[in-house]
Symmetry: C2
Subunit: 144 residues, 2 copies
């Protein structure tokens, strides 16, 4: 069970704004949340929101402004229509469009939005990747 | 199924080095990987590794050097001993210690390491968070 991510924590500037943003996208707030931190349960992972400077302090790193963070979070959906619908929902909830959903070179359909703090989310349909119909979880085949 | 993260993609400088690093931590390489991209299956999420500049290009953002990325990935483990063991395994696989595992203010035990590209992982035991014994998945209670 060590190959896992339990929590993805995003450093944010305004916790109530970011909490409402992710609740609007369907994440469920939990009793673990406190005034200074939000924990939102997803189907397979918890999303944490924490003040950006507090997060830097917790990791004992300097809070230097980020350029390109080199991290993207992807949600894979079962169809192009589902990508469009989710992308538009995100824009309606306060996201900025970074790259409109479009056909891409690897044979799928993908767009990017930025959350209120500029964290990048890809919304994608990949016809070559099977999703569990109940959980939505992506399960790839181990290389032999 | 929209409250989910299917893939966390990390921009990396040396794909073979980073692939070996995460394989060493127990992530399973998959048939979806190609020369330019690695997809590693975890228990509940896929970890993607992609060239940092290619990732910036894919999201249509400028590849400005990152300061503090404002993103941390946490793996929650069932005991302090499991935290120590996993942390030491990561150091043996090529991670840098960022914050030695220690008792922390919220009543748990936590440390941070940086992967070969500086992506921050927290390794934590939180006695207040229950983990599924089979999947290791964290499941928090919805706020009413």
């Amino acid at each position: 069970m060590t190959a896992n991510i339990s929590i993805v924590t995003l450093g944010v500037d305004d916790l109530p704004v970011s909490t409402r943003f992710y609740e609007g996208l369907g994440w469920v707030n939990t009793t673990a949340s406190q005034d200074s931190v939000t924990f939102l349960q997803g189907h397979s992972v918890v999303l944490g929101l924490y003040g950006r400077s507090a997060l830097a302090e917790d990791a004992e790193v300097e809070n230097i402004p980020a350029g390109f963070r080199g991290v993207t979070l992807a949600i894979n959906l079962p169809s192009r229509a589902a990508v469009d619908a989710f992308f538009n929902k995100a824009l309606g909830t306060g996201a900025s469009a970074q790259k409109q959903p479009q056909s891409v070179f690897w044979g799928g359909y993908s767009g990017y939005f930025a959350d209120p703090d500029g964290h990048l989310w890809e919304v994608a349909h990949n016809p070559f990747f099977a999703l569990n119909e109940v959980t939505g979880q992506l399960q790839l085949e181990a290389k032999s």
